[in-house]
């Protein structure tokens, strides 16, 4: 048995080696780098240099505030929307279900740059279709890229557009795993369809909703593409800068890897903490 295990590990060795070098080591190394002053060469060990800066850095708190604001508003809205989409997809009355399923999932596979470019065009102040639509119902044009609030709204709209369908598909799979005869029993119990949704579907879907929430929280904590490409590097004036963008700016533009590593570990720590709190809040009673 021991010999068999050794043979198995010899076959696994090439993968494990690459995994250790390119995955495990960078994680450990970046943690160590976060305790080094990296603004000047040679790097030197200075445990409080980056972590101390983090506590007093207004740019970090601005990025944290923006990230958490997006998290608090966008994630619940997106999950609610995904739930509505999943209910519609699950309806026996819906024709061409496969087409809708594809359409809802399609944003995930569209290239990030292409979709960002299209969003920039759609929300353009002068010729974007969104402002044209607003004007057509008598509302004034909105400068989505020059003001912080519309820019944040734009980020949230874009992220929601991209990921709502993805979550809807996961929720749909969860809904379809609820046995049909539970609904039939409820129908015989004279429970209306609406009440069936709130008293049967939602409680039984809770583990799947929690799964989607966890995925979304992790995704939002790492948010980078939209503020980088759509609102042009967290514009206007850092109004949409997220932690992901701050990390990029510090690491790859200022080449301050120590501080970037500290930000990265803060992001991961926050994602884990928020997820744990959320799992605790939505735990199953024993």
């Amino acid at each position: 048995m021991r010999y068999q295990n050794a043979t198995a590990y010899r076959f696994l060795a090439p993968y494990l080696l690459i995994f250790a070098i390119f995955w495990v080591w960078p994680i450990i190394d970046s943690f160590m780098i976060s305790f080094q002053a990296t603004r000047t060469v040679p790097w030197r060990f200075a445990p409080t240099f980056n972590w101390g800066r983090l506590i007093g850095d207004p740019a970090f708190f601005n990025a944290l505030k923006n990230t958490l604001l997006i998290l608090v508003i966008q994630v619940p809205v997106m999950i609610t929307l995904a739930l509505v989409m999943a209910v519609l997809l699950n309806s026996p009355l819906l024709k061409a279900r496969g087409l809708y399923r594809f359409a809802f999932f399609a944003p995930v596979v569209v290239g990030e740059v292409a979709y960002s470019a299209v969003f920039r065009l759609m929300f353009n102040l002068n010729f974007g279709i969104i402002n044209k639509l607003l004007n057509s119902v008598g509302l004034p044009s909105v400068d989505w890229f020059s003001n912080v609030t519309p820019a944040m709204a734009l980020i949230m709209i874009a992220v929601t557009w991209r990921w709502a369908g993805y979550n809807a598909i996961i929720l749909l799979a969860g809904m379809q795993s609820i046995p049909e005869d539970v609904y039939e029993a409820a129908t015989l119990d004279r429970v209306s369809k609406l009440r069936q949704f709130f008293f049967i579907t939602l409680p039984l879907l809770k583990p799947v909703i929690v799964f989607c929430l966890v995925l979304s929280i992790i995704g939002t904590m790492q948010l980078f593409t939209e503020p980088f490409l759509i609102t042009e590097r967290g514009g206007p004036g850092g109004g949409t800068e997220t932690l992901g963008l701050l990390l990029y700016r510090q690491g790859f533009r200022s080449l301050n890897f120590g501080y970037a590593s500290a930000v990265a570990y803060t992001m991961a720590g926050l994602a884990i903490a928020i997820t744990l709190v959320q799992l605790w809040l939505t735990r199953e009673p024993k």
Partner: protein, 359 residues
């Protein structure tokens, strides 16, 4: 309590007809079992009575009232599902009271009904548990309890015991029988297990491929089947079928020669028109209707393959000279040692080539 009347009820899925004009009268307080092999349409028929499945033709009346277009909840029925269909996130108590709470039934009345159901089914101690914390038998009790609290006119059971192990099935069978006696409510029960049907039913409806083959009391079906299918389906072990040929008539009736055994002839009295000499027939013999050599009408030589001892009774699995498999029932004390024995046929049934009974 109520009667249930099915008048020429048809069910089609697209162009495919699965129930071909069912006519059944279930009397007030009667326990009727729909039995048949998988896919015979018995569950579909039950679901049509419940209103969970639309009917494609015919009429269904419950308590004398036509219910074709009546919502399932308004038909005065309660249903117990094969998979129990309990609400997994609710306690037993919540499962029982859910429907009543949702419809705004007064709390005192809901509590009274839940208490009564829990007492009838002896599940008082399980009330705070979730379905996943219950055994199969306990879950089934809760499912039945949920039906009881509705105080329905008719109980519908869709293969409620098929997910249970053999021992529990026997126990629950007795409980359902006791429940019927206690409540006196009309019950319609679907199963593919003929033993369940025989032990529970006041009357059995035997179905095959969307047709009703025969309706009758359990022993009537056993003693007097209309056709070869019913004869073979009702009874365990099954009735034996030995191929034969009509060779003539004598004072006792029509004379049948068994295939492969020219000297073995069975005379069967017929009141109806007898088929012509030379017609092929099937001779049906129940396992307990084989006797010792010389005891019955005629003797038959069989080769024994396997003997099963069940205690007081033994079953001999044997084969005739023509290759027909037969099961012979014997008292344990009366099992022969020889591999080839001669048995007599004390009672037999004749079926024509279409499987219809020759009487």
């Amino acid at each position: 309590m109520a009667t249930v009347t099915l008048n020429n009820v048809i069910k089609r899925f697209g162009v495919f007809e699965v129930v071909h004009g069912a006519n059944i009268d279930v009397k007030d307080g009667e326990f009727v079992v729909f039995v048949g092999p998988s896919g015979c349409g018995k569950s579909t028929l039950l679901r049509m009575i419940a209103g969970l499945e639309d009917i494609s033709g015919g009429e269904i009346a419950i308590g004398g009232k036509l219910v074709n277009d009546v919502e399932p909840a308004d038909r005065g029925i309660a249903m117990v599902f094969q998979s129990y269909a309990l609400y997994p996130h609710m306690s037993v108590e919540q499962n029982l009271s859910f429907g009543l709470r949702m419809t705004g039934n007064p709390k005192a009345d809901t509590d009274r009904r839940v208490k009564r159901a829990s007492e009838i089914l002896r599940i008082n101690e399980l009330m705070k548990r979730r379905p996943r914390q219950l055994s199969g038998g306990q879950r089934q009790r809760v499912a039945i309890g949920r039906a009881i609290v509705r105080e329905p006119q008719v109980f519908l059971f869709d293969e409620p015991l098929s997910n249970l192990d053999a021992e529990l099935r026997v126990q629950m069978r007795v409980e359902i029988s006791r429940l019927h006696k206690e409540l006196g409510t009309t019950m319609i029960y679907v199963t593919h297990d003929q033993t369940e049907a025989m032990t529970l039913a006041d009357r059995i409806v035997v179905m095959r491929a969307g047709h009703i083959e025969q309706i009758g009391r359990p022993l009537d079906l056993y003693d007097n089947p209309d056709n070869q299918f019913v004869a073979g389906f009702v009874g365990s072990p099954k009735m034996n079928f030995i191929s034969g040929r009509i060779v003539g008539h004598d004072v006792h009736g029509v004379v049948v020669e068994l295939a492969g055994q020219e000297k073995t002839r069975i005379a069967q009295p017929l009141t109806g028109a007898a088929p012509e000499a030379g017609s092929k027939v099937m001779v049906g013999v129940r396992p307990e209707h084989f006797g010792s050599a010389g005891e019955g009408d005629t003797d038959l030589v069989v080769r024994i393959d396997v003997v099963e001892h069940l205690g007081g009774t033994s079953f001999l699995y044997a084969r005739t000279a023509n290759g027909d498999d037969v099961v012979i029932q014997r008292d344990a004390a009366n099992v022969p040692d020889a591999s080839e024995i001669t048995v007599s046929v004390r009672k037999s049934y004749l079926f024509d080539e279409k499987g219809l009974r020759l009487r």
